[in-house]
């Protein structure tokens, strides 16, 4: 049932993308040099199918899209779908790395802040989270480049050759979510540490380290894990700008370039696929909840 809703969303998304692209009116104005003759505009318009009414255009687009034909890129004369799919793995990889980074950081800082509540570590963490939330992700990325790549020269800032190329972009992409996730983990952990069942475990002599990292953590991680899908979707959203900064060969950067070039087939294909993943990861949220909390598993 949820899947159905998701499909509706994707279809709706495609409509929105379509409309947004066409809002300006005549595309050919931007594609042809300014001194082109009106007839050339006409020819191009007909070639690209832009002379038909919008509804017809959309239907043609949709029917082709379902079959996997997103048309050819205006710039590269290649199927738009192929362009997008080639670059999709790079984006997914980056998003996954970013998610791993943010979750690990959030768990580490969140748990320790809760356990040592009120200590300098906790206060330091709070201030850091506050600052982190105020800093725009892309600026952080630029600062990282400035500091690590330019001044210190130890980490690469462009491209995707080796695993060290992942470090700066992944941290920057994950940056957006770290503050919120840390706060969530800390707050959940504080609640759990106060609970009766942790007291029971303490009373039977479970050592402190295991108490925190095995027993309490599993309970505190529940809200975070259920939101993983949402955070992954957020990473996908942030990929547009982060990939542009780090020259990362992923869908995000491709779409941004395509938008500038008014290369609509690529734009449509790229954003639509990102939307599909977006919707998909939000759906995944419900499924993961059942895995973590055994009570829900059986209620279905």
């Amino acid at each position: 049932m949820r899947v159905l809703q998701g499909i509706v969303c994707v279809i709706g998304a495609s409509v929105i993308i379509f409309i947004a692209s066409r809002v300006s009116g005549d595309v050919t104005l931007l594609l042809l040099p300014p001194d082109a003759q009106p007839e050339q505009h006409e020819i191009m318009r007909r070639e690209l199918g832009l002379d038909k009414p919008y509804v017809v255009q959309y239907l043609i687009f949709a029917s082709k899209a379902v079959r996997g034909d997103f048309g050819n890129s205006y710039r590269w004369q290649m199927p738009a779908l192929q362009l997008v799919l080639e670059r999709l793995p790079a984006t997914i990889q980056l998003a996954v790395c970013a998610l791993i980074f943010s979750v690990m950081t959030a768990l580490f800082f969140g748990v320790l802040s809760a356990v040592y509540q009120g200590s300098w570590f906790d206060n330091f963490g709070k201030i850091f989270a506050l600052l982190g939330q105020a800093m725009p992700g892309f600026w952080v990325g630029l600062m990282f480049i400035l500091f690590f790549a330019v001044k210190l020269g130890i980490l690469p800032a462009f491209g995707r050759e080796g695993y060290e190329h992942f470090i700066l972009p992944a941290i920057t992409l994950g940056w957006y979510s770290v503050a919120a996730q840390t706060r969530m983990v800390r707050s959940a952990m504080l609640d759990v540490l106060d609970s009766d069942y942790i007291q029971t475990a303490r009373a039977v002599g479970v050592p402190k380290k295991i108490l925190i990292w095995k027993y309490a953590l599993r309970n505190a991680a529940v809200p975070l894990v259920t939101m993983l899908g949402v955070y992954f979707a957020a990473m996908l959203g942030g990929s547009f700008i982060i990939e542009t900064i780090f020259a990362w060969p992923g869908v995000g950067r491709t779409v941004v370039d395509a938008i500038f070039a008014r290369d609509y087939p690529v734009v449509q294909a790229g954003v639509l696929f990102t939307s599909i993943f977006y919707v998909f990861s939000n759906l995944l949220v419900d499924l993961t909840y059942g895995l973590i909390d055994p009570r829900i598993r059986y209620v279905r």
Partner: protein, 328 residues
């Protein structure tokens, strides 16, 4: 019967546990002393806020920090003062191993995301009693059987929500007795249970005591429960023991006005009374406890001196005592 002078299993001497809050200091436990023998059941009776739970948390050193602190006293278990032991040794040697606790609310005492096999296996694993998975599994099944969980081997992978309240309480009991403790503390083990299940729980505790000679401290506000299973009773009020003694003596001839009031509050079958007896007044404010006897605002036989000075401890019979000016 000759009185045997045994070395007590547990000896609590002048225990004082205070809570240092922003608003002031709460003297939750203010000079409590008692002893528990092997195979004996001591009941601690009182209202909420009397300090009974805090006393037992203090024995296990589980009081909430940093606000709470044991400021004075000795707790001697089998000859060793466990207040001097460091935290790590406390966790690995004492808690769960020599002293165990069954807490009050079975619905929240078990971790919802771990199976009961995992949780009951915890004590075995962390006290090093069993090393391999098979050994732990067998031990868990065995202890679950002892607490009368049906078909324990099949239920190891089940989660707490799949058990009823009474069963969950038994699982908690299993965790407590897993490593064969010398002292068991049961904090209101029956308060959250149905009346019919309560008896079963008490019987279970008795069986465990007979099997293992464990000393039992039972905390309760229910006098009927206390009468059923305890040999001696300590009545607590505002952080102190106001009366102590053999269960029969206390029920037949209570000496302290508070104890008398408690007993009068329990309606008895066959008695015709127009109104239920109620103890007047409110429980004491522990931030600003009254000077003198803490019970004097609610006592119907109070004298002036009760307000000025705390009453001395007057011995009663062989082992009992009470703190009241009326007895002098």
């Amino acid at each position: 019967m000759a009185v045997r002078e045994k070395i007590p299993l547990l000896s609590v001497e002048n225990l004082k546990t205070y809570l240092f809050l922003r608003r002031g200091v709460v003297k939750a436990v203010d000079g409590v002393s008692f002893q528990v023998q092997e195979r004996e059941t001591l009941g601690i009776v009182g209202e909420s806020g009397s300090g009974k739970s805090m006393t037992c948390l203090s024995i296990l050193r589980l009081i909430p920090e940093p606000a709470g602190r044991i400021v004075e006293g000795k707790i001697i278990l089998d000859g060793t003062d466990i207040l001097q032991v460091d935290e790590q040794e406390m966790a690995s040697q004492v808690r769960g191993r020599k002293i165990s606790m069954i807490s009050q609310d079975p619905l929240t005492s078990l971790n919802p995301v771990f199976s009961i096999g995992d949780q009951v296996g915890g004590p075995f694993r962390y006290h090093g009693l069993k090393k391999d998975r098979k050994g732990i599994r067998e031990a868990v099944v065995d202890v679950l059987r002892r607490v009368r969980i049906p078909s324990p081997a099949q239920r190891l992978k089940d989660y707490p929500y799949q058990f009823s309240g009474g069963m969950r309480q038994r699982v908690v009991a299993a965790m407590a007795i897993a490593c064969g403790p010398r002292l068991l503390i049961a904090d209101e083990p029956t308060s959250a249970l149905d009346v019919t299940i309560q008896i079963q729980m008490l019987q279970l505790l008795e069986e465990i005591q007979q099997e293992t000679n464990v000393g039992l401290i039972l905390i309760t506000h229910d006098l009927g429960v206390a009468a059923y299973i305890c040999q001696r009773i300590a009545v607590m009020y505002a952080g102190r023991i106001v009366e102590f003694g053999d269960v029969r003596t206390i029920y037949k001839k209570p000496s302290h006005p508070y104890t008398q009031a408690l007993l009068n509050s329990v309606p008895r079958l066959g008695e015709k009374k127009k109104r239920l007896f109620n103890i007047e007044g409110q429980p004491p404010d522990l931030l600003n406890p009254p000077i003198g006897c803490a019970f004097w605002p609610r006592c119907d036989r109070r004298r002036d001196i009760c307000q000025q000075e705390y009453p001395p401890t007057i011995p009663i019979d062989r082992e009992g005592y009470a703190s009241c000016w009326l007895l002098t």
